[in-house]
């Protein structure tokens, strides 16, 4: 009973936010003259969670579902990256840049080599972790050593990575037809593309298994280890953590390193799993949306799985929604934005709810008082 109560406390505000976002989106869709229910149902159809009326050859609901899983795997890593940094009070806005750096490095080292699948696939993952980790560590180091605000430095690195990598792609690795980087070898892809099973051709995302393991590992790290506790302490109050004897600088650098490494994993599963090539001069939205996803999932690794599935469901299904319900696919990000808007207010809603409850049960008992305080301080 207590567990259910706790769970309900955790999910009720995200649920409220989602509900509000869907209503707002529904109103916009209705005003522009389409049926919102049909539009939302086609979101489910586009992601393989509901049957479509007809399928092309070699396609079924299962293939849609797999391609949806293929699509949301990078987002899980990216959201975890944001969550780990946020635990230590840092904002990693540079996940997109770390993804690009890791994806590009893995592409040129492994993707364009002739290595066999058994060596290539693990190597891609290791390179992703290392490159992303370094990119994150630099940001942490700049923060610790030079007091550079991590928001600014990660954004600067985003642009630096974007332009430098675009230069290298355009100079050395460009595919003259697609104007993108050359496709990586099938052996190095983390998704088994177009694998024929029975009469279906399925994209099997191997990354999803790694993602689920990582979710557990990150949860274990944050909740069950000394380091996780230290990160949390630093996130709550740097001065108090220092007073307690925690090495704040180490925590800042480490949390950014872990965050960057997770961003790197997001990068390899995106560029060598989902896509297979890199478009120059484009920074994917995944890194920015990941902030939203992490926020919606209460920065909890398990919560992130569900919020990832929801947010990516909206964006993945939006192409199908456009073709069936005639609603512009851009509405997807509007809905996401509104959901975010409401989940950003969660501290206030929590505080307000606690306040009402406290007023009902006067005199103020200590637990409610703590909640009110926590709500205020969660800035």
């Amino acid at each position: 009973m207590k567990i259910i109560r706790k769970l309900w406390d955790a999910v009720k505000i995200p649920l409220l936010a989602i509900f509000a976002g869907l209503i707002a989106g529904g109103v916009i869709i209705a005003v522009t003259g389409s049926n919102p229910f049909r539009a939302y149902y086609s979101l489910l159809q586009g992601s393989g969670l509901a049957p479509k009326s007809s399928y092309a050859a070699y396609k079924s609901m299962l293939t849609d579902l797999c391609s949806y899983a293929n699509y949301f795997t990078p987002m899980i890593f990216a959201a975890l990256a944001v969550a780990v940094a946020l635990r230590a009070g840092l904002f990693n806005i540079g996940v997109s840049g770390q993804m690009l750096a890791a994806g590009f490095t893995a592409s040129i080292i492994v993707g364009y080599s002739g290595l066999g699948a058994v060596i290539a696939k693990p190597l891609v993952i290791i390179i992703g972790i290392i490159v992303g980790g370094i990119a994150g560590a630099v940001v942490g180091f700049l923060k610790y050593k030079f007091n550079i605000n991590e928001v600014v430095s990660t954004i600067m690195f985003n642009y630096i990575f974007q332009y430098v990598i675009s230069f290298f792609i355009n100079t050395y690795f460009v595919d003259p037809v697609s104007r993108q980087s050359k496709n990586v070898s099938a052996a190095s892809r983390l998704t088994l593309m177009d694998t024929q099973i029975g009469n279906l051709k399925i994209d099997i995302p191997l990354g999803i298994i790694l993602a689920l393991i990582t979710v557990y590992a990150v949860w274990f790290l944050l909740e069950k280890t000394k380091l996780g506790y230290e990160l949390k302490a630093v996130g709550f109050s740097k001065t108090a953590a220092k007073y307690a004897g925690i090495n704040v600088g180490k925590c800042v650098v480490l949390s950014m390193t872990i965050s960057g490494a997770l961003g790197g994993l997001a990068g390899v599963t995106y560029y060598l799993g989902y896509l297979g090539s890199i478009q120059p001069k484009v920074l994917v939205d995944t890194g920015y949306d990941a902030i939203a996803v992490s926020l919606l999932g209460n920065n909890n690794p398990f919560g992130i799985i569900f919020s990832t599935m929801l947010i990516t469901l909206i964006s993945k299904g939006s192409t199908y929604m456009k073709s069936t319900a005639g609603v512009d696919s851009e509405i997807a990000s509007v809905i996401t934005g509104v959901i975010l808007l409401f989940s950003a207010c969660n501290a206030y809603i929590k505080w307000k709810a606690a306040n009402i409850r406290a007023r009902k049960s006067l005199p103020v008992n200590s637990e409610n008082h703590e909640k009110i305080k926590a709500g205020k301080e969660e800035k």
Binding site: I148, N149, V151, N170, Y288, L341, A344
Partner: protein, 319 residues
Amino acid sequence: MDVVIIDGLSFALPLFIMAIGGIYCERSGITMLAVEGLQGFGAFTGALCAVLVSGSFSGNSPVPFYIAMLFAFIGGGVFALIHALLCIKFKANQVISGVVVNILAMALTAYLTKLLNRVLFGATSDKFVLTVSARITIPVLSKIPVLGAAFTNLYPFELVIIVVAFIAWFVMYKTRFGMHLRACGDNPHAVDAAGREVNKIRLAAIIICGALSGLGGICFAYSISANFSSSIYVGYGYLAIAALIFGNWKIMPTLGACLLFGFARSGGYRIVQVLKLPSSYQDLVMILPYVLTLILLMFFSKHNGSPRALGVVYDKGAR
């Protein structure tokens, strides 16, 4: 050399006006990461109005541009109310709120541009086509050697920005409101004790920030891209934030930072042209302002004086 100065100024000044907006907001104690979104939304409203009215003016009339500037000013200010609502009323985390406002601005402008193009003009397009603003040369001053370039081939908006920037500087440092605003960022309780409402001053600061950012956005739309589309979001808003941190939250040093970014960018382009390098080298040059920011921040961030109450939700009862 002249080209470097002309292009540098036309990039630095819109950046500067956005950075001033950021300074207003941050000096009042509200963390402002939403400049990117605000400038985009301002540019959107401005561009929409320009497209709507352009039919009733002759082809090269400058009037639509001034109307666009006015509405960009208003649009940015109105959109900033979302940030104000989240930060002041709902006491949300100000960094998160900034990111949310950015995401929402990008989503809404992309959606509305497509929708309005279809509804109003019957066209399937994801951009509002604008013109590149005509340039003017100031007669006597432009004859001065070297420095004269600063008065040659100006976009008219550069003059507007200089006037607005001066007013902003005056309000910030020479008026009672400016003093209260700065005090809000350092010691809001003192402002409260002096009988002013902290939240009202902060609200005003956020609206000013949105308005100035919107102005900067429409200037970029009229000079660099000559249209409004999602390509307006290339991170100049974040660059403005970097400039204001580098300028230590003061207006005049921030101008220096913006000029540095502007000249680094235009100088880099010029080098690529002079050395006749292939155009892909432009990508390498593009990183100059960003690398420069990082290096300079390394030297100046250690002892920077961010407003003491920056990012702290004002709580009347706190000690």
